[in-house]
């Protein structure tokens, strides 16, 4: 047995976008155990549901996280709509799908940039974020915000997208495809990236299943698990495909995210083609919710679960959520056993950690 050392990793670390803390127990250069601690940015947002009007809470829910903000607002709204038996107008569902999938493209491009940065590939990082900027401009143009949209509400959406803007989005995305192809093939073709990521952090399908991995983490190990198959929203109509890889390593997870970007673009284009002309974008909300509901939906990072319990007043009794990062921490800890210290940053990054969602 070599010398045992304990290295604290995070919450402040150059490679970490968010504050997670791991105590790494090392034997020489090898990690034998990783002990996590979270809770550095707990803000008590779930508790806030007890004192905010259930309709106004959407704007708080959105601010749980800056990257999947739209999906948080949508998850909360879906849960309340199901308790109250509200049917969301079709156009609103399409608009939600468009914004939701644009969020996925922007989240994955952000992750790819961060991954390139963690590898020391600054040039690639800049290109990924340059492309992401196009998506942020679309958000700015359609919602008035770059990362927090405040367009989702209980019963539908608050803003419509005009036909000209939809046509512009379609054009922009189709034009972007080629550019994306050029930049993103570098992740697959480049020797630097491949040598660094291929075979690193292998997760077998059994492990992914046993540790409850979600999102690209599970799909890269060949598990066909995606909440968009559950039939919420309009995913059935707009050409959604479950994207899986079989390699189970860091490169596999990168490939899943890259292919999802292209699938999302296809879905947005289809949604724009199929969006109903009827301009109703919200259903009236009458009375107060009473009952409970479990909403499951797919965020860019994986499955998120919203649980709400209402008691017939304007304040909900309880709201709890399980975020994809929380679900992916067990598999990460397993993954870290036996790797070299130098591989820890990229492996932590590979689950696409979003600690602010995780801690609320």
């Amino acid at each position: 047995m070599g010398n045992r050392t304990l290295i604290p990793f995070g919450p402040q670390h150059p490679v970490l976008p968010e504050p997670i803390h791991l105590d790494l127990v090392l034997e020489d250069e090898w990690v034998v155990e990783a002990i996590p601690s979270i809770g550095f940015i707990h803000r008590g947002l779930e508790k806030l549901v007890e004192v905010k009007d259930f309709q106004d809470y959407v704007y708080v829910a959105e601010r749980i996280c800056g990257i999947c903000s739209f999906k948080h607002g949508m998850g909360y709204s879906m849960a309340v709509e199901n308790v109250m038996g509200i049917t969301v107008p079709e156009r609103a569902e399409f608009l939600r799908a468009i914004w939701g999938e644009l969020s996925r493209v922007h989240s994955h491009l952000l992750w790819l940039g961060l991954a390139a940065d963690a590898l020391g590939f600054e040039n690639l990082f800049m290109h990924c974020w340059r492309l992401r900027e196009t998506i942020l401009d679309i958000f700015d143009m359609t919602t008035g915000g770059r990362v927090i949209f405040s367009v989702c509400k209980v019963g539908g959406v608050r803003k419509d997208i005009s036909a000209e803007k939809l046509a512009f989005i379609r054009e922009t995305l189709l034009g972007m495809r080629e550019e994306l192809n050029k930049v993103l093939t570098i992740f697959i073709d480049d020797a630097t990236v491949r040598n660094r990521m291929s075979g690193l952090g292998y997760v077998s399908p059994e492990d992914a299943h046993n540790f409850g991995a979600v999102g690209p983490m599970a799909r890269a190990s060949g598990i066909e698990m995606d909440c968009r198959t559950l039939g919420y929203n309009v995913y059935k109509e707009i050409g959604f495909k479950v994207i899986t890889e079989t390699s189970g390593d860091c490169l596999g997870r990168t490939k899943v995210r890259i292919r999802e970007i292209f699938n999302s673009i296809d879905m947005i284009v289809n949604a724009i083609d199929l969006i109903p002309k009827d301009t109703t974008i919200d259903a009236p909300v009458k009375g107060f919710p009473d009952g409970e509901y479990f909403a499951r939906l797919e965020q860019p990072r994986g499955e998120v679960v919203y649980y709400i319990r209402a008691n017939g007043t304007k304040f909900l009794e309880r709201m709890r959520m399980r975020t994809p990062t929380f679900a992916n921490i067990p598999i990460l800890l397993n993954l870290l056993k036996g790797v070299e210290l130098a591989d820890v940053p990229i492996l932590v990054l590979t689950i696409d950690p979003c600690i602010s969602c995780c801690e609320r």
Partner: protein, 116 residues
């Protein structure tokens, strides 16, 4: 495994960027452009306001305050999350969002408007 150390796609991309205009904006010298519907700061047309307090009730951040007797409407801009919920719910439609980002501030202050 055959290793390719000469990376054509990256070199091509890098070279192309060399001859293109920068993707970034030179911010302090070039003016900042906000989109048409950019959610910026809240303004109140105090002449039209009836001090009903609807915006106070609807603000998720709790940054608006209304004193009906003194005909005062005030906002703590540092706490505003720019959700526009107050604008949507104002019965007199006297609140609006201007497409300018809130200015940086060195200390927290509450801005008050009085309908004299």
């Amino acid at each position: 495994m055959r290793r390719r150390f000469f990376n054509a796609p990256m070199i091509k991309t890098a070279l192309r960027s060399l001859f293109k205009a920068p993707a970034t904006v030179k911010f302090p010298t070039a003016p900042m452009e906000y989109g048409e519907i950019y959610r910026g700061i809240i303004e109140n047309d105090i002449e039209a306001c009836i001090f009903c307090g609807m915006c106070v009730k609807k603000c998720p951040a709790g940054v608006i305050d209304v004193i009906r007797d003194e005909k005062t409407w005030s906002i703590d801009r540092s706490g505003c999350i720019q959700c526009a919920n107050c604008v949507t719910n104002c019965p007199k439609k006297c609140l609006k969002m201007v497409n300018v980002a809130p200015a940086a501030m060195t200390e927290q202050s509450v801005e008050s408007l009085v309908n004299a």
